[in-house]
């Protein structure tokens, strides 16, 4: 009698009642991907502005330093990488804020599914929509900076791998500063120190390509950074979102 009572109480108190037709985590992940895709495709300005920013920063260098090939070509890898890095950082600023404002971020936190994979869906879609165009634009700007031809492929490949790490790490900063109305400079201050390894290995790969040295080691290190970020940062993003939204 007593035990039956206990059983009933336990079933009643169970925090997440078992539903017969509750979708699996994979299903929810795919749904989140679709939702993010639709939302981010519609925010055209947020997609185009970082590209324009990237091109503008690159244009500043010939104007500020020198338009001659002898000076521009050696600094081109660094200039392209720094400009791309800043563009990725700028594009991340609005990653979570619209969701916070319309309340869907809170829904994400209370929906009962682990937050980390769902926030990963957000970052992945952002990477595809914001960083891939950047990667495609980079060779054009590379030509304008007299980047040697043999480095163009490595430029795209290193940016492809690097921007994934940059997006994932930057999303932690974006999540931490979501609660603020405006976070531009603060987020930059918080995130940029963490970007330095990616910058070092990214430009390292390109320097090697320019000098005709093997690039595989550099790219492998970049890939390792991206994979480590892929494995670890979703948990940090999830924790940061919890802190930003509900203060716990």
């Amino acid at each position: 009698m007593n035990q039956a009572k206990h059983h009933k109480a336990a079933a009643f108190c169970r925090l997440t009642p078992k539903q017969v037709n509750s979708p699996s985590l994979a299903g929810v992940f795919v749904a989140a991907l679709k939702r993010e895709w639709q939302l981010q495709v519609r925010r055209k300005g947020d997609l185009i502005n970082p590209l324009v920013f990237f091109a503008l920063v690159v244009v500043l260098f010939p104007l500020g330093v020198s338009p001659t090939a002898e000076i521009l070509a050696p600094v081109a890898p660094g200039v392209l990488w720094v400009a791309a890095l800043l563009a990725v950082l700028m594009s991340l600023d609005a990653l979570f804020r619209p969701d916070l404002q319309d309340g869907s971020l809170e829904q994400l936190l209370v929906c009962g599914y682990p937050v980390a994979p769902l926030s990963l869906a957000k970052v992945l879609v952002h990477w595809v929509l914001s960083c891939l165009p950047l990667v495609l634009l980079a060779p054009l700007l590379g030509i304008m900076l007299y980047l040697p031809w043999q480095a163009q492929g490595v430029l795209m490949l290193s940016l492809l791998l690097g921007s994934l790490a940059l997006s994932l790490v930057g999303a932690i900063g974006a999540a931490l500063t979501t609660g603020l109305g405006k976070s531009g400079v603060l987020m930059t201050l918080v995130v940029l120190p963490f970007y330095m390894p990616v910058l070092i290995f990214g430009t390292g790969a390109m320097q090697a390509a320019v000098n005709g040295q093997p690039v595989l080691a550099h790219l492998a290190l970049l890939a390792a950074l991206a994979l480590a970020a892929l494995a670890l940062s979703p948990w940090a993003i999830a924790a940061a979102l919890r802190i930003a939204v509900s203060g716990e």
Partner: protein, 249 residues
């Protein structure tokens, strides 16, 4: 011993107890830091023998090395305090973390400035993009980031947890940053005076360093306690024991 530590830990979670016990600890930190720093300064400046390669400029080591040492370990302490806050929800850990950030930044700044001054007689230039100086500079920016985040966020509980998370993320990243900067430096290594393997330091050379490191730690404790005590009073201003304490002053 273990049980004693556990009780101490639990008691330190209480703001009132923290305030009371630290007033007893404070004189020890004051005395030991003044004694050790004074001893280290006199021995390091006047009694340690000259380095045969660098001459007397090596005496900068006695302030540079302890500062660099503390700059790194204070960040670790901040991350440990962050873990204590996030996992065990101990609010006093955040008071300590908040007190640690500025002194950590100051230590990083000291090590950067003395490193630059040391660079002039050794390398012939104020600044060199040396691997260690560069990682120290990045560490300085990490401290500034944590402090800026705390400044910007409100309420205070949110800021505390956000800073704790940032410190933990930073500690995971510091080895990666250090490794990548070392790697970058070996790629771009400029011609520099390479200090060859040093012979074992005589006691008259390393004893002052030992005193200075311990003295810096004691001073860190002193500064952190001062900041933490003020912060405890501010946070607990509405509670009974603070009113009782400050009533008749």
């Amino acid at each position: 011993m273990w049980n004693w530590l556990k009780t101490l830990y639990h008691r330190l979670g209480s703001p009132k107890w923290f305030y009371q016990i630290t007033s007893k600890w404070l004189p020890w930190f004051v005395g030991s830091s003044l004694l050790l720093l004074g001893l280290g300064l006199v021995l390091g400046l006047a009694y340690a023998p000259m380095d045969y390669q660098q001459g007397n400029s090596f005496r900068i080591m006695y302030v540079h090395v302890p500062a660099a040492f503390l700059a790194q370990s204070v960040y670790m302490m901040m991350a440990v305090a962050g873990i204590v806050l996030l996992v065990w929800k101990m609010k006093m850990a955040d008071v300590v973390a908040q007190a640690l950030a500025p002194i950590g930044a100051i230590m990083t700044f000291i090590s950067l400035v003395t490193g630059a001054i040391w660079g002039m007689p050794t390398w012939g230039t104020w600044w060199m993009w040396d691997a260690r100086l560069t990682s120290m500079l990045i560490l300085f920016f990490l401290y500034l980031g944590v402090m800026a985040l705390r400044e910007a966020l409100s309420p205070q509980e949110t800021a505390a947890k956000a800073c704790a998370l940032l410190a933990i993320v930073g500690v995971i990243n510091i080895p990666i940053i250090k490794y990548s900067v070392d790697w970058w430096y070996t790629l771009h290594q400029p011609a520099s005076i390479k200090l060859t393997e040093k012979p074992a330091m005589p006691a008259s050379m390393y004893l002052p360093l030992l005193f200075m490191v311990l003295g810096f730690y004691a001073l860190l404790g002193w500064s952190v306690l001062l900041r933490a005590r003020a912060e405890v009073l501010r946070r607990e201003a509405k509670s009974g024991w603070v009113r009782e304490l400050l009533k008749d002053k």
